[in-house]
């Protein structure tokens, strides 16, 4: 299950680190300071990247949920769990940076704006995913339940957004249907940050999937050794 060949992870991490260095350079030295908000606006590049990567995770989780229910192949369950966990990490970062940005700009840590509300509810839904995961023992059953949870959570997103948008929004809209609303150097900085975060996402997802696969392998080997069901060293996900 785990290839014994040369581990490409150091190479991937080095590439990601280089991308991040480029992103930091682009954000702080290439992109100009914003006229109204000033320097704080530089939070934006990583904030939006985190948000998009989080959304990518949850999309992956939903797709692998559907794939699991259709194929009943546990590898989709592993992928889904890995994606949700990474998505949760990035959603936390989005909420944290959003609050730290909102305080100086809107003068409030939190407002019930559509995007903020959606991120928060998403966070709750996918945190609940792990509570559910911990509550079911049987592998197949857990996979099916978690798949449903991931799909339901993803399906909920547009409704949450729609319902929250009926309130007034103060969140800036950067990407509209008719094009992007910012200066070219800023766009470069954003794109480089996005690339960096996408690479990081890939590294993390790969690592998380490997960890889950290893835990699975350990379970199988322990079973083969015919030891007592190891409560003490039950693989933690």
């Amino acid at each position: 299950m785990i290839p014994r060949t040369r581990n490409p992870e150091p190479v991937l991490i080095t590439c990601t680190a280089l991308l991040f260095a480029a992103a930091v350079y682009a954000v702080f030295f290439h992109a100009p300071a914003e006229r109204v908000m000033g320097l704080v606006q530089k939070i934006f590049y990583f904030h939006l990247s985190c948000a998009l990567v989080a959304f990518l995770s949850f999309t992956t989780a939903c797709i692998s949920g559907v794939a699991y229910l259709v194929s009943r192949d546990l590898k989709w369950d592993v992928l889904g769990a890995a994606a949700v966990e990474i998505g949760l990490v990035f959603t936390t970062l989005v909420l944290a940076t959003g609050m730290l940005w909102g305080r100086p700009v809107w003068n409030a840590w939190w407002t019930w704006d559509p995007r903020l509300t959606t991120s928060l509810i998403l966070w709750f839904i996918f945190a609940a995913y792990f509570i559910l995961r911990a509550a079911v023992e049987k592998r197949q059953q857990r996979a099916a339940y978690c798949a449903v949870m991931a799909i339901a959570g993803f399906v909920d997103v547009p409704i949450v957004f729609l319902s929250a948008r009926l309130w007034r929004s103060i969140h800036p809209v950067v990407i509209r249907a008719d094009g992007v609303n910012m200066a070219p150097p800023m766009l470069t900085a954003l794109l480089v940050s996005l690339a960096a975060f996408a690479a990081l996402w890939g590294v993390l997802l790969r690592r998380r999937v490997r960890i889950l696969a290893m835990a699975e392998q350990i379970r199988i080997l322990e079973h083969r050794l015919d030891r007592e069901p190891a409560q003490a060293r039950r693989a933690r996900y």
Partner: protein, 222 residues
């Protein structure tokens, strides 16, 4: 279709004989209304929006008690397997349970509402017909999501308080919309002002009913 109807009849009759779910829902709903009344400082005027919030807190929390019990009877007697061996399809079972939950919630609300009007003022009474519409939409949305996750928690190994934790995050938009619409109704707004809320609520209900039917085969199989 006929066997789904039989499940509905069976559940209603069992509830009539030993009204476990109804008593839990009503008692909890009443308690919440009283607690919230105590929590609001005496002499505070209850605005329409506050009233709506209080009403929906009571309804949401009492309904989760009823939803949590929707598969209890089958689990106790191990007859979920029997039900699934019968000609009843998983989709039929989901639909039947959803209908039962809808009915229970409606009945509980019939009792919770009068107490709400007693405690928080009968000025809200004139908005009853419009309120019924919101309740109907919210009940079916709650029932769709709740039945789906009640089935999941019934199959989980450690399921204390699992249902609220899975259920509340998902229905949060529904609760928010119901509160907003009810607040407007209590304030005497005409239908066009809150109809967009009702539309989104209907969309929520439709989506989750559809999802429930689609995945019920996978949920009940394990």
């Amino acid at each position: 279709m006929r066997s789904a109807w039989l499940v509905i009849r069976k559940d209603l009759r069992a509830e009539l004989r030993r009204p476990q779910a109804m008593i839990a829902m009503l008692f909890f709903g009443f308690l919440l209304l009283v607690i919230l009344d105590v929590a609001v400082p005496a002499g505070t005027e209850i605005t329409p929006e506050t009233g709506a919030g209080i009403l929906w807190v009571a309804i949401t929390f009492s309904s989760v008690l009823g939803l949590g019990r929707s598969f209890d009877r089958e689990k106790e007697n191990h007859c979920l397997e029997g039900l699934l061996l019968s000609p009843l399809s998983p989709e039929g079972l989901f639909g039947a349970k959803m209908a039962v939950n809808c009915i229970f919630m409606g009945l509980a609300e019939l009792a919770i509402l009068p107490l709400f009007f007693i405690l928080y003022g009968d000025a809200f009474l004139r908005s009853l017909p419009a309120l019924a519409l919101v309740l109907l939409l919210a009940n079916s949305g709650f029932a769709a999501t709740g039945t789906l996750f009640a089935a999941i928690t019934a199959g989980a190994d450690r399921n204390e308080a699992l249902l609220p934790m899975l259920f509340f995050p998902l229905v949060m938009p529904l609760i928010a919309m119901a509160v907003r619409a009810t607040g407007m109704i209590f304030a005497g707004a005409p239908l066009p002002e809150y109809s967009s809320w009702l539309q989104v609520m209907a969309a929520f209900t439709l989506i989750f009913t559809g999802l429930g039917f689609l995945v019920s085969r996978h949920i009940f199989r394990d």
